[in-house]
Symmetry: C4
Subunit: 273 residues, 4 copies
Amino acid sequence: MSGQRIGVLVAVCAALGAAIILPAARLATQAAPQGPAPLANDPKLIEDLVYANRILYQQEVLDGFGHVSVRSDKDPSHFLMSRSMAPALVTSNDIMEYDRDGEPVDARGRNSYVERYIHAAIYRVRPDVKAIVHSHSPDIIPYSVTGTILLPVYHVTAFLRLGAPIFDSHDAFGDTDMLIRDNKLGDGLAKVLGNSGVALIRGHGFVAVADSTPIVVYRAIYTQLNARVQTEGMKLDKIKYLTPGEAEKAQAIVEATVGRPWELWKSQVGKIQ
Amino acid sequence: MSGQRIGVLVAVCAALGAAIILPAARLATQAAPQGPAPLANDPKLIEDLVYANRILYQQEVLDGFGHVSVRSDKDPSHFLMSRSMAPALVTSNDIMEYDRDGEPVDARGRNSYVERYIHAAIYRVRPDVKAIVHSHSPDIIPYSVTGTILLPVYHVTAFLRLGAPIFDSHDAFGDTDMLIRDNKLGDGLAKVLGNSGVALIRGHGFVAVADSTPIVVYRAIYTQLNARVQTEGMKLDKIKYLTPGEAEKAQAIVEATVGRPWELWKSQVGKIQ
Amino acid sequence: MSGQRIGVLVAVCAALGAAIILPAARLATQAAPQGPAPLANDPKLIEDLVYANRILYQQEVLDGFGHVSVRSDKDPSHFLMSRSMAPALVTSNDIMEYDRDGEPVDARGRNSYVERYIHAAIYRVRPDVKAIVHSHSPDIIPYSVTGTILLPVYHVTAFLRLGAPIFDSHDAFGDTDMLIRDNKLGDGLAKVLGNSGVALIRGHGFVAVADSTPIVVYRAIYTQLNARVQTEGMKLDKIKYLTPGEAEKAQAIVEATVGRPWELWKSQVGKIQ
Amino acid sequence: MSGQRIGVLVAVCAALGAAIILPAARLATQAAPQGPAPLANDPKLIEDLVYANRILYQQEVLDGFGHVSVRSDKDPSHFLMSRSMAPALVTSNDIMEYDRDGEPVDARGRNSYVERYIHAAIYRVRPDVKAIVHSHSPDIIPYSVTGTILLPVYHVTAFLRLGAPIFDSHDAFGDTDMLIRDNKLGDGLAKVLGNSGVALIRGHGFVAVADSTPIVVYRAIYTQLNARVQTEGMKLDKIKYLTPGEAEKAQAIVEATVGRPWELWKSQVGKIQ
């Protein structure tokens, strides 16, 4: 065998090897994230927040709009939320920290959601709340614009308890652009929310709050389901809602098993790049 | 050709071969299931039960909650059901055996569904029943909370016969957490079910029963469809339901052909790992 | 280089080649269909019939049940339809020929749809009809069980013209199993259909007819859409339907462009194995 | 090693290399588009128009029918639109130029949409309008056939302002085939549209207009959403719509952020071949 022929043979096999190995190497280097220095918070808290964004988008509670936040585990007067972008695309690199007034701690030129004051205002007055979702769900709007109270129709929505209160910016603020764009509007919403788990915002959407990320995601998804079921029920006849006693007991038991749907929803989102 | 050059050549080709062959070998070894010793039941019975879980999830009858069971072919006072987990993810390794009171025969630390008493109670009083589905279907809840009777609107839901009875835990048990969490509640539900194929559970969901897995899956899926169709029909005008004579004849004929949709649903789930 | 080493090298490269080439060869041999001798009909007629099955399933007009047929181009008193199976899985090997009474010409042990008499009866009295669809569409059932006439709400459903008549087996036949299982029932349905493009079957579904496969598929899909739109409209207020003059003109123009949606639907089904 | 054996070895490795490299090369050459000479317009304008077609199809505003156009940046009396085909399949090679009367500038045997006069007529009288969508949305038809005015139910549909006017061809033109097939009908529609962002066409669909492609796509999608929400709200109770002041402020703010959903929708369509 001549050196020339061996050279050709080695070249062909090396090319084959390159065709298989190099793309795999390139993908491996692309996986390394770039962006601002990571936050000092518990990585699990941030990972769950990213999953919450993706799950709520996949479950059609959030679309191009809407957002979800968690209270900071390092400084309880602060909270974490993605920069202003579509929830479907959020990654851990997009998470930013906000102070008690809703202003970014270290913006680095990144835009914030205009309505971050929804989150800031609620964290200020609800020490029990650790996670918040704001959604423009089309299923909820009909209730918000007709003054119809969302009540727990079945055991999985027992957290609605005595009904979801409705905040109408027009009452105290007259004609606005309907966005909760400052702390005064945020305080107005937080006041109407009171101790509830859910409040509706007339002509806008709703907010759900809870003491953990899996539970707030669960509440947002099931608030939307309750609206669909309650609407269909009201077309048939008068609805027998959960009694206050039933709602209290059922909420405790159902939210103790939130791990099961949470793990299922995470597995449906899959691995996040 | 030097030994060195040949060594390089062999190494490159071996690497290529490894890159193709080794992952395939690894997948083959991963396919071997791990877990508790398999049950002594007919493997087809277990396989159909696993498919039932997956089909009902894909057909949106079950979500993160709900369950399906079959009566044991080895001991008719026992039944088989998955451990407590999302139906979408059930495999044959998750199937457990339960005794006539709904207690696990060999738990080995695995959690059971809180509501297994629905299944235990019905198997106790309905010797004809070989399979049971419990679902929280949002389409059914409106009927359960307004006392509206589900009646057969078209031939494929003839099994609804004279209507689906509604069990309300509040009647005999007052404020509960709405779950069928013991045999007393299970007996209450089984009593209301009587000889029917379907019963609704107020503010909770429904249960479907049948003498085979394909038929109980069919009934669960079509009970949900009947609810949607009946709701739309009642918005148009007074519905002419199937007469008792039509329902009896149509049920016999339609359930004799359940193999066709069953095979289609299985093919849509595909191979289960 | 020793013969031994060369042998190892050739073996490794051959194994690599086999790992790439043999699976491709296996797929190629699997593509060759097996089954009864093909029919003598125009292959395009059969191919369109198979596509009709797949399209109607994908567009959710047919599910595990329902069927579509075409009049034979070789013998106009005969028609072609799949053997009894789910439309989602029909291939050209499944197409069978039926005579004017709806009996299979060459069954070879293959089962036929029980309701083939729907097709046989209509082909007998409607020489203009070249294709028929029978569907259990849940959107249509509400109209069939409340005696509500489906009327053309918008231009794309102009073929509904003066409304879709409703056949009720109970009128002339009393309690049946609701299936069109013989020629007497088929004749009853064909009589009610008259010269219309669509007729409803109480508590069962509907039938659509046309002079070509693309148009009958179009009519089946849009009949279902018209039902949804008409239902929503009737909830708002009194509907202004197409006038007879508008319906006549619009039908002609819309059905002249059926090639566009037909090609889109075929492309969505993709290549059929 | 004999020349024969080396030849076999080189052949096997070369075949392996070819099996990997040649398909990649073929795909690369297939990517080069063929068709008429490209238009002289801004490639970004054309690319956005193609995306608009794909997005509106994916968001279920357009199906096999409907179309979207943009005013030409080279000659403002002309506009660009795809040749007559399903929007789902439109590529940049399908875009044609039309003059102020809606006639193609350089047809080259390509068919045009019959209803291009909708676009021509509106561009003639609305110098502010740079993009137009025409859709047959089933959600809108109920409003068009009952004379129900679509009003802004929530902030994201504030562009509906004081309500969407309804054009009925029957008023001035009697029985037609319902299509806007000439400039007289187009002028009639444009007159009813007036200065609005949206007008309904009785028994046909709707038209949305805006001063950019992202905004007209946004308005088309959200007009459809508003219809669904308004319908559900009207079933619950009397709706409190956005006040004129709220609508004016909200529209400005929401349409300033249209980039976010636009980028999300483009990413969902992905790369267009």
